[in-house]
Amino acid sequence: MKKDGVGRRDFMKTTLAGFGGLFFLSALDKQPEEKRIDVKGKGRKLVYRPLGRTGLKLPVINMGVMNSDNPNLIRAALDSGVVLLDTAHAYMQGRNEEVIGSVVKGRPRDSYLIGSKVSLPQDRTTGRYTEGATETEFLRKLDLSLKRLGIDHVDILYHHGVSRKESVLHEPVLNAMAKAKKAGKFRFAGITTHSNEPEVIHAAVDTKFYEVILTAYNYQQKHVADVRDAIARAAQAGLGIVGMKAIRGGFRLSPSVRSPAAALKWVLQDPHVHTIVPGFTTFDQLETDLAVMEDINLNEAEKMELQKEASLPGLYCQGCRECLGQCVARLPIPDLMRAYMYVYDYRNLAMARDLVLSLGLPSGACGECTVCPVRCSSGFPVREKIRDIVRIREIPAEFIA
């Protein structure tokens, strides 16, 4: 559709791309390329997505094995439809790879995929590699990993734990991976990042070397918008995107959400994420994951559950209403925060616009105050969010289908 020389897509890009940096268009415009595949003998139809341009098609959830030395759980996962087992050279000091090796022994090599990771010594305060980070050391670790796994190649080999642009380009690692790939020791080159993810992801795309990115991604990340944008760019460049830390949000031991299924689905609403590798350790958790693999759509109850989460900095207003008496302009802050969530989480612009318009706000909301007296109990930067969300009034209704 064109209007005054500017199509809906272009308008949205130019107007909303700068919408606090959080909105990204493709979630609305592009349906994820996915299909349902029967799991033999299980009566389950699992949602699969292609892993970028690797040619691999994966169920939307696979297994992070890092916490499990329970071979029967790994077997149950593979028998239920999980395809990719995610591990690392360093997990359990190598025992994790050994356990996987014992499980896959005797299984057809094309019935499962393995992603493993090799890290080299870094100064963890700076994220820079130290003297021992050599090509030889990388290759030695890879060979040991293959030995533990009892296979001649892994499907994805990740350059593990990168937090800086220059480390993405660390020549000894790139050389080692190039040699190992040539020798057939892995199929796809990957990189993993737990912190400073956007910088790492953008740098990985720029190298044109990596084919898969494994990144932390969840709604609790303070910089989730930047991560989301970086993921979108990488996916559009053809890289496979694997998500992690979807439930725990990084450091938390217990799931920090009341509904792990909702947290997983939240990540999968992003069509640029091709699969997630949560680290489950119980059969019940496996069942939860399988249910999500069958139906990735957030239902209303799950949306409400997410909305109610007490520990969701940045997106969800807790509705405590403590702010109401603090704003000198008497703005309906909880409603505005809800509108903000409609845009940046539900990606439902129409709902957000209707709500904002219904509030009858003054034209320059928050524009006249130099200092905001509102102290949000959840720590929201209230003024910034309001200034951001009220701009939705300027978008013509016909552009928000």
Binding site: M66, Q93, H194, S195, L253, G279
Partner: protein, 300 residues
């Protein structure tokens, strides 16, 4: 009000003990520390060990301190001291990473070396040393540094005393583990001690679950029997032989606040023999453990 506050403050003083000094990285002859000691909390552990952090966090990890020692030959040894909430938690992560064919050493409660690494557990600390460019002096250098670090840890004690309940016959050396959560993939089993066995050509595993009290044991069994669709009303202290859909035959015995049993052992006669042997080691006066007197959290 101020007087009341002062009184309260004084009253509270003896209750809040000063923080323990904890492990100090010692001066080591011939080596000097390079750079500052780095610290990592549960929130930042990922920055240091990436996804491996999950297992440490499951073992109630509290703090990591990292120091690097270097010598004139440009060799370096990195010492990582992971402090956990209890000695049992530290043993848990140590045991899950332990290399069974390592070169075992009497450092701390137990340690071992392998190529350029040396790991040991001592009280609440799990300490890992890695050497670089130490050449032929690898093991000597690591051991010398490890011994001094252990001496400066402020910790004491040995391995968990419950491990002595495992029958010695057929037990594989250094195969004992403490699984901190979700033993066998079931949340209700929570934690368990395990050991690997090989007897009469059969490889299997024994486990021992320690509950808070008899009621918890009963609850664990109720949940388990319900899970495998064999619910029972009158659960009593006795032997239970069940067909687990994921693990095959599990034979277990409940007594007091302990449940012990076998995994991966199909031979019924051998299971009976093993369970009896286990019970003998759990009986007061017969073995290392007194079912009534062993207190939780004082196992070291």
């Amino acid at each position: 009000m101020r007087v009341l506050g002062l009184i309260l403050g004084i009253l509270l003083l003896p209750v809040s003990s000063p923080p323990a000094q904890g492990l100090q990285f010692p001066d080591i002859p011939g080596w000097k520390q390079s750079g500052e000691v780095q610290s990592f909390s549960p929130k930042t552990l990922y920055e240091y060990i990436n996804g491996a952090a999950d297992l440490y966090l499951a073992s109630d990890f509290e703090e990591l301190k990292v120091a690097e020692y270097v010598n004139e030959k440009k060799a370096s040894v990195i010492v990582e001291a992971y402090r956990h909430r209890t000695p049992r938690d530290a043993f848990g992560i140590y045991s899950q990473e332990r290399l069974p064919d390592g070169n075992f050493l009497e450092i701390g409660a137990q340690g071992y070396s392998d190529k350029n690494i040396l790991n040991f557990v001592y009280g609440r600390y799990y300490v890992k040393l890695n050497s670089y460019n130490t050449g032929t002096d690898d093991r000597e250098a690591l051991q010398a540094i490890a011994i001094m670090v252990a001496e400066h840890s402020g910790e004491k004690g040995g391995l968990p005393s419950l491990l002595s309940a495992f029958p010695p016959e057929g037990k594989k050396g250094n195969s004992e583990k403490y699984i901190t959560r979700n033993f066998l993939g079931y949340a209700f089993f929570h934690s368990a001690y395990t050991a690997d066995y090989e007897l009469a050509g059969k490889a299997f595993k024994l486990f021992l679950i320690e509950a808070a009290d008899e009621n918890e044991c009963k609850s664990i069994l109720q949940q388990y029997l319900r899970r495998i669709k064999k619910p029972e009303r009158g659960i009593t202290e006795r032997r239970y032989t069940v067909a687990d859909p994921h693990h095959g035959v599990i034979d277990l015995f409940w007594k007091g606040r302990y449940i012990w049993g076998t995994v991966d052992l199909a031979d019924a006669d051998l299971r009976t023999k093993i369970l009896k042997s286990f019970e003998a080691h759990m009986r007061p006066g017969k073995g290392a453990l007194d079912l009534k007197s062993v207190m939780r959290f004082t196992l070291f």
